[in-house]
Symmetry: C2
Subunit: 416 residues, 2 copies
């Protein structure tokens, strides 16, 4: 595309690309924007080095095209929904303004990051809604690509997960880490008692002991025998978790370990968490379903050209453009977005209008933040800011948004 | 776990860990092993640098543990199914032998790579089965994490995809690349004619023109007008693809463009490909459903301790171990595996036995290759070897293995 546009003289036309979702995954009420912080880092590092240029030459690109990308640096502007913000179909999640040559090359980078991270954050948000306020530990690294796993831990934290078992996410992004031992640790030792004693010796009685390698109730007795009544937690990873949690709670209490917590894992998803609301459980470890988006492993975001200048004249207006493909509508034009509330302060509408700014009398909360100005990243923020924003954004949605049952989007999308 | 094992003196016990699937994704007949080549590269690079060690210290690990990992290098042995091989539940896909300290640290690395790559390769294999021999282009990068996308292109190629639109996969792994233009390219230009002329000027008449931005039939006429009857291909990306393909074929033929191919894209999965078997389509571009495993975004592989020595004595035997957790059975012991055939040469059984080698009279094809010997990678092979192996392994399976309908595993798992 770049080679064709350079040839036709259109490569340097000013363009606006927009990221949005045509629809939410089936029955979901809202999505969660995530990946913005990672995207800003990746954008700064997005360069074509000698190895990449050599490949482009071998692939047959012409000299002008290879030269154009050899000095690539994005010099345009980007606005986006704040990381952690909730969204609905049509929300203009990212608006990229620059020349075609600069902006078109970012499509895969932008969509890869936002689609994966938002899919995980959207699933994570449903899980923290369903967890009855109990802390959730992200434990899904083993079920995702090795780098995607790190991004997943970050996205889960934005949507309210307490901790991650991925230490690299802790190192890279400061996500608090937590973990427990695996069955292999118990099996390595001559018997369960030795394993529990070894773990307590190494990590203190506040550790979490995995008690289902052989027999759960015997495991609990051995755990308390090894750590004493100040044992931090036991982990259940198999069987009928609800019944088991009750029995284990009773046993722990009868042994005097009334402060010992019960942590539950085992292919949990948001529905399993909701089903355990009444069980005496103190925390959840969630893995596979989280990192695979709980049935929606991509957010399905697209990156579409919505406006472009018809000439290279710097003053040429940005004209709306849109394809007419059957069943895949898109709306042309540069857009602003705001969230409108009812009298009780509950969010009701995603209002989307044409232009770079909402009109002065727009009553809603503006949703687009300036992230990149003339190529310079200005929208960086601490990860905890995204986490806080998510809590606030979710709290403003109508109560039915937090239901797990299938339904319509929580906000009406209104074009004005 | 490492800190506990160092404390209890068990960290250097010789261990065997095994990677296997408890089950296939619902209704699938077989899985495809992928990621092995990436894993061997990652294993060689798996080291703890100053930044990682600092994090471990901050996380509160003791001095002995931090020292143990600071010089980490895997010095054990690994055997595995050849990359591209088909598998069924219970197949011992990877066997890792080493000290507990060395082998336990590899769990997340091994599972992340094999789970993601195998999920994509397994989906890709169903798609190439369903594509009636027509070439499939991998186009899913935008719907996967930015690094996972590169791995997905590689995995798809193993399972018979012809090309990828991911240039980094081409650079890194030599996967042949291909691509088409997007709607943005057409919309950038003043009209469809200008866009088509620009693309043909830049890439020659053999290029693929996207014809559904406005009106498909008018688009086809304009495409042939711009490129002549030697136009390489047109791409359809929306609407009723089967009906449209017939109309477009007739139109192309009537315009004299009888050699021009029809490429189809638009959220295709293996069922959509199968449904187009009778349509005049020459190739498919597949994206989202491929990189998300077509409903099974992880292969669900686990890494379990199956045997360990009871002492540090180098001659101590490896004793089988297995947890008893409800509903999550595992079988202890170091295992071999072979594939047995009937008189017609059709694969019928996955035979799995205890020990490091099949007995001399085992009639089946041995499935485990020696990949790492005393820490040295010896199992590296060109990517095309994995692709060839997949073709052969799939060709040996019973014909019903290639059906898309839900059913049982294509091979019986037999423990001997």
């Amino acid at each position: 595309m770049l080679q064709g546009a350079l040839r036709s003289g259109t490569a340097h036309r000013r363009c606006v690309f927009e990221v949005f979702a045509r629809r939410l995954p089936e029955g979901r009420r809202y999505g969660v924007v995530a990946g913005t912080g990672r995207l800003l880092d990746a954008l700064e590092a997005f360069r074509f080095g000698p190895a990449e240029l050599e490949l482009l030459e071998r692939a047959g690109l012409d000299r002008a095209t290879v030269e154009a990308v050899s000095g690539y640096r994005f010099t345009g502007d980007i606005w986006g929904y704040g990381e952690g913000e909730t969204y609905v179909p049509g929300s203009p999640l990212l608006v990229v303004e620059g020349t075609f040559a600069e902006a078109v090359l970012l499509e895969t980078l932008i969509l890869s990051i936002l689609n994966f991270d938002s899919a995980v954050a959207s699933a994570a948000s449903r899980m923290t809604c369903a967890s009855s306020g109990r802390p959730c530990i992200e434990m899904g690294s083993r079920r995702a690509h090795e780098q995607a796993a790190v991004a997943a831990a970050r996205a889960a934290y934005i949507s309210g997960f307490a901790t991650t078992s991925n230490l690299e996410a802790s190192r890279r992004y400061g996500v608090p880490s937590a973990g427990t031992s695996a069955h292999a640790f118990t099996l390595l030792h001559d018997d369960e008692e030795s394993a529990f004693r070894a773990q307590v010796a190494a990590l203190g009685p506040g550790t979490t002991l995995l008690v289902d390698t052989y027999d759960v109730m015997r495991g609990v007795r051995r755990a308390v025998a090894a750590a004493g009544t100040s044992l931090g937690a036991v982990r259940l990873d198999s069987g009928d978790l609800i019944t088991q949690a009750k029995e284990v709670r009773e046993l722990l209490d009868s042994l005097g370990a009334t402060e010992t917590k019960i942590l539950v894992t085992s292919d949990l998803d948001e529905y399993a968490l909701a089903a355990m609301a009444a069980a005496p459980v103190d925390g959840y470890g969630v893995g596979t379903s989280l990192v695979t988006g709980s049935g929606a492993p991509t957010a399905g975001l697209v990156y579409k050209l919505t406006a472009r200048a018809r000439s290279l004249d710097p003053g040429a207006p940005l004209e709306p453009v849109a394809k007419a493909s059957a069943g895949k509508p898109s709306r042309g034009g540069r857009k602003w977005a705001a969230r409108r509330y009812d009298e009780q302060g509950v969010a009701r509408q995603e209002v989307i209008g044409l232009g770079s700014q909402p009109p002065a009398d727009e009553p809603g909360r503006p949703l687009l933040r300036h992230l990149v100005r003339q190529g310079e990243v200005i929208g960086r923020e601490p990860l905890d800011a995204a986490r806080s924003r998510h809590g606030e954004s979710l709290g403003e949605l109508p109560p039915h948004a937090r239901q797990l049952s299938k339904g319509e989007a929580a906000l009406e999308t209104v074009y004005v």
